[in-house]
Subunit: 411 residues, 2 copies
Amino acid sequence: MKAELLTIGDELLIGQTTNTNAAWLGRRLSRLGVRVRRTVTMSDTRDAIQRELDRTYQDARLVVCTGGLGPTHDDRTRTVVGEYFDAPLHTDDTLLDRVRQYYNRRDREMPDAAPRLAQVPEGFEPLDNPVGAAVGLWYEAADGRLIVLLPGIPDEMKSIFDASVEPRLGALPGVGEVHHRTLVTAGIPETALQERLGDLSGVLGDDVHLAYLPSTSGVRLRLSADAAEADATARLNEVASVIRERAGDCIIGTGDVTPEDALGHLLRDRDATIAAAESATGGLIGHRLTGVSGSSDYFLGSIVAYADRVKQAVLGVGEAAFREHGAVSEAVAVQMAEGVQEALGTTIGVSTTGIAGPTGGTPEKPVGTVWVGVADADGAHATHHQFVEDRTLNKELFASAALERARRGLL
Amino acid sequence: MKAELLTIGDELLIGQTTNTNAAWLGRRLSRLGVRVRRTVTMSDTRDAIQRELDRTYQDARLVVCTGGLGPTHDDRTRTVVGEYFDAPLHTDDTLLDRVRQYYNRRDREMPDAAPRLAQVPEGFEPLDNPVGAAVGLWYEAADGRLIVLLPGIPDEMKSIFDASVEPRLGALPGVGEVHHRTLVTAGIPETALQERLGDLSGVLGDDVHLAYLPSTSGVRLRLSADAAEADATARLNEVASVIRERAGDCIIGTGDVTPEDALGHLLRDRDATIAAAESATGGLIGHRLTGVSGSSDYFLGSIVAYADRVKQAVLGVGEAAFREHGAVSEAVAVQMAEGVQEALGTTIGVSTTGIAGPTGGTPEKPVGTVWVGVADADGAHATHHQFVEDRTLNKELFASAALERARRGLL
């Protein structure tokens, strides 16, 4: 089944609110196998709503529309959609009672406009709202197409979807047929990953689709299969196993796993602890590791040695290393990793020293240069990486590289 | 000027990624006085892109399209938009050089598909990408309408918009008649700030609009005046001076200033240095301070003492403080701040010890509790704050409180 979403509201267009409703509905509908083909955000004017209903209705069997169901005169969805389907509004007495009770129970006087909440276009079915006053509305047109109207307030939209929309959709024939799987990689850029995976067209066939989703923490590979569950699972298993074989240890996990999750799992598995000596990342490695609940089991702390004299005084980096190689060097990265491993008494020490930019670059050590050190029971070493020109991106990329080097050290 | 946004990508439709690009572009275009009328998210197929270009082009003078500009065969925007405007692709040699350099500088072999990044539809102008390999594209059609193509990766999209799109749009006639000014506050919740500002309706009048924009680093007050520049500036000055008088030292600056910028300015002014002793924030204070270029002038480093034994061994917190008050206590916060001030030899030491959650809370010290310590030449003290139940939010709120307490100490 194909669906389109209409999300109504000026606050979305001017970016005062991020459209999390669209993302949430996208996830929930995909999970049911409903394919969201298009999402439109528009203003709450009569013209805009009618025009988009016209356009949307040509393509989709299901139209989910959020926003504009409240009691105020700005809330036009109910009226405009009713007009569009020649369904005059009437007041539903059961709903009106419910609205009265809603305000009574909260010891609040019912606002003059509240009875609008009990108006229903003819042929539309109210969907109970477990957490607010505005009900949802469900309409099955004569040709079998479906219109679902939901409030724009995220908690109310979600509650109605969970309680009424999902069970109704799930019971329809043909729903439940797209299945996804995501393989998460780290430490390899998109293009290098693509080359390593090679030509997958024979493996993917016509029924499995692969998307590359790059970010500063790595590239996620999202597989989608258009089939009933058993077939889809079999096909996804098949494709995933070919990808795993070709990508090797670049794959850090599936689903929403992050590099800090993957490293945390390994540390817990190995009964190991970690500490970071951070220069260019400024504390980001510790921040990311401690973003994971339970990380105190393996993360003991960091020493952020931004000034060189802190690298010397607290981490014990030798003066000779600075004099002979400079602060951004293999020697300093190695000694920083060893220094924090010793100072905090951990199994593993990881370090970064680099140039995040925008200033501080030289022809030999341009902005984006970083050395990542790893110290463990077998000794210490460092790797060189060259990233981009943006400070914020570089800090994320440096931290991702450090988390990934630490993970590789544990394999 | 009216605009429409086309955001391309299946990951947006299925909700794997929330459409933050649309919100960001909505905010930035609104600030220029460009009215975003409609945002469409669709799949990266030829049909979908061409159909939406058709529909969008009927209504808007400006179309901003994100996504699908990378090098892989999934990246169809360049080709499909070129076809739509009968603009055949050619390879731009300067761009090709730039792509080559991009990979050279990173010591990576140029992938086979990379030359696609240098293909430009005839008549389209490349927009430099300061942080990635894919350029943006700018096209002015014969009838004066504008098409802007940007990559979907948020950092790249934003960098190109800042560097090239905003200045070009701002120079067009009819753009920029809404004038904005933002006053940034810290350390005061929205409702307390509202009470402190009192009734502003007489000051705002009909021509100036005030929006409260809360975030984890504080509440920004955005003033908008709908008038020609000279009038708008006079009115914004007038309103801002009333707000400044009432809000007092909660105001940390204007525009995009962050708490870490404001603290950095003050430290530089006072010729002071700072170090952080972080427990619950895990490194985030250092990460935020070092997000500011030039922060090495005043930020020397942090000790992230996540484990209590690191608080004792490296920061010198006494065992008695733990025994008598627990790790999340005024005594431990004070000793952590003093410990890092001494260990790193800075003017100021700032510390956090708290419970970010979701576990670890007790009736006396619920999730969201934090003690923030500040040590300076006058001695050390700590303040107690109670925030929310979400781990990620708490870490940001704890760090913001620490940056704000350090700033207040310098006033």
